[in-house]
């Protein structure tokens, strides 16, 4: 069964894209990430114009994150106050990111920047998550785990102003770090066309020292709103959101996300982290190979000047 996409202007197999949606949705439910960091490159690989791939992925992130977020909310795993504080920073960051994209496009370095950011961020974050996850599972197996969080571990973060109480996370800390983290993620998301969960989650664990159980749900909560804003921005600014493609991916995605979050609750947190780290590293490696290996064709076409 094939369907003609009104914005991408091509005819695609519904089954292939439905399956893609299910797989991405499964990963997003499992790890609490939007999954766009996988979806965007895969869509481009299947022949969807990259501008359409980036914009449409954002709407997929909304769908897969909202079902995950609701599931986690029902289990009481969302710190709404923390989510809102980060969202504030994220919206400002998105604006900065969009401006950066314009500047980079004019200068002609947009594609390169995106590829390098993918390799660097995914590489670094993937390694950290993987190593940390392996260490954590070793400690658990050794039986000598120091899982309890010591209060007053923030160090220099203690000295920052605007202290707030986050009762759900049992934290009393400055609002500056979450706002800055949100801003950074928002900026990065706008440039790379991703949700940013794979950076947000480690940042929440290692920088904000939030309880691990709340991290996934809170990150999804924040990502839902950030991705919704990004979708509307892409639709208005670039007119590259393909609603038909989005719908196919979303139907697959929401089903996959349900299975993913069910499986996720059965797996140990450390194992989840090892898996997520491995997936992120794989994508980074593929991107890196693309930059290093001689391309099949040194020439490429872009329909509109400056388009990625």
């Amino acid at each position: 069964m094939t369907l003609y996409l009104p914005i991408a202007e091509m005819s695609v197999s519904v089954i292939v894209y439905l399956a893609l949606g299910v797989s991405i949705g499964f990963l997003s439910g499992l790890f609490g990430v939007g999954g766009a960091f996988l979806l965007t490159p895969l869509l481009t690989f299947l022949g969807i114009p990259s501008a359409v791939a980036v914009a449409t992925s954002a709407s997929h992130v909304v769908a897969s994150s909202v079902s995950g977020a609701v599931t986690h909310y029902r289990r009481g795993n969302v710190d709404i106050k923390m989510g809102l504080v980060m969202l504030g920073g994220s919206l400002a960051g998105t604006y900065l990111g969009v401006s950066a994209v314009k500047i980079l496009r004019v200068a002609g370095y947009f594609e390169l920047t995106v590829s390098l950011m993918y390799v660097i961020f995914l590489g670094v974050v993937g390694t950290i998550i993987l190593v940390e996850g392996i260490n954590a599972s070793r400690q658990v197996h050794a039986g000598g785990g120091t899982a309890t969080r010591k209060s007053g571990q923030h160090g220099w973060l203690e000295g920052l102003p605007f202290k707030m109480r986050f009762p759900r996370s049992k934290l009393y800390m400055s609002a500056v770090p979450p706002v800055i983290i949100g801003m950074f993620i928002g900026c990065m998301s706008a440039i790379m066309g991703i949700g940013g969960g794979f950076v947000l989650i480690p940042a929440m664990i290692y920088l904000l020292r939030m309880p691990t159980g709340l991290v996934v749900g809170t990150s999804l909560f924040q990502i839902v709103f950030a991705a919704a804003v990004a979708t509307v921005l892409h639709a208005v600014e670039n007119k590259t959101v393909d609603i038909v493609l989005a719908l196919i991916l979303i139907i697959g995605g929401v089903i996959g996300a349900q299975f993913g979050s069910t499986v996720g609750t059965k797996l140990r947190g450390e194992h989840l982290r090892v898996l997520l780290g491995a997936v992120v590293l794989l994508v980074a490696a593929r991107m890196a190979f693309e930059l290093v290996l001689p391309p099949d064709d040194v020439f490429s076409l872009a329909t509109v000047a400056g388009a990625s």
Binding site: P6, V66, L247, Q258
Partner: protein, 264 residues
């Protein structure tokens, strides 16, 4: 008497003139089988038939090959950027680029034999017949200006090759066939990724390298039904369109979350 003689002379001259001159001038008339191609949600590419006739044909049989016919179906011209990667510090990076101000978005050519055998370069260039004769003008200010003629050529070659890979540039050297002394036909493929917009069909008639006639026809390629509605909304009311997409996404997500709710 003198009048009569003069009249007779005029008559003879006129008659003689006609018998001595070439037979009636040949021309070409043509049309496309479909004037309107609708792009609906089930569009998976299609074919159009371009057919026509040679007026005053002197061709003894369809196989004689007295005439050559070239059919060109062209899409709207659009700007295009060709980029070239090269190795910088171990990484493959787009270093050179060339911007073409106007290049046909779609170009299908069918002919009775290879176009370069039908006519010489000057004629093909003048009428923009064939991939290598189409006007591809580099934009006035390319970012990385490739002014070297060899480099310009390599960029043009790459553009044609990439467009052929995308199947929007199609060449069929024996795609036009005569089915009578004067009647000919050619099928032109419109791939699923054909750029939406009006198409122009040009039919050229050649004999011994000389162009005898040209006939143009238009084919409308437009979205119909739901496709059209969605596209128009996306273009004219983008905020609403984006909002609907988000609501649809959030709605599906929530619906799934409730549908899969476990009795806890």
């Amino acid at each position: 008497m003198r009048r009569l003689i003069r009249a007779a002379v005029i008559l003879v001259v006129a008659l003689g003139g006609r018998t001595l001159a070439e037979p009636a001038k040949e021309g070409v008339e043509a049309d496309a089988s479909t004037r309107q191609v609708a792009i609906t949600s089930s569009f998976t590419g299609t074919e159009i038939l371009v057919f026509g006739a040679v007026q005053n044909s002197v061709q003894p049989s369809p196989e004689a090959g007295t005439y050559d016919v070239i059919v060109v179906v062209e899409g709207m011209p659009a700007p295009v950027v060709v980029r070239k990667k090269s190795r910088v510090g171990g990484l493959w990076i787009n270093t050179r680029s060339m911007r073409f101000a106007s290049v046909p978005s779609y170009y299908a050519i069918a002919s009775t034999r290879a176009v370069d055998e039908i006519a010489d370069k000057a004629v093909l260039d003048a009428h923009a017949i064939g991939f290598h004769h189409v006007r591809m003008v580099p934009a006035a200010h390319s970012r990385t200006e490739a002014t070297d003629p060899d480099e310009l050529k390599s960029f043009k070659e790459a553009l044609i090759r990439l467009k052929e890979n995308e199947r929007v540039y199609i060449k069929s050297d024996f795609g036009v066939s005569f089915i009578g002394r004067s009647l000919f036909r050619a099928t032109i493929a419109l791939p699923p990724n054909v750029p939406v917009g009006p198409l122009t069909a040009h039919v050229y008639l050649f004999k011994k390298g000389q162009m005898l006639g040209e006939y143009d026809s238009r084919v409308m390629l437009q979205r119909e039904g739901v496709e059209r509605y969605i596209h128009e909304t996306a273009m004219s009311r983008p905020f609403l369109y984006g909002l609907v997409t988000v609501l649809l996404a959030a709605g599906s997500g929530l619906a799934a979350a409730f549908a899969f709710r476990k009795p806890a």
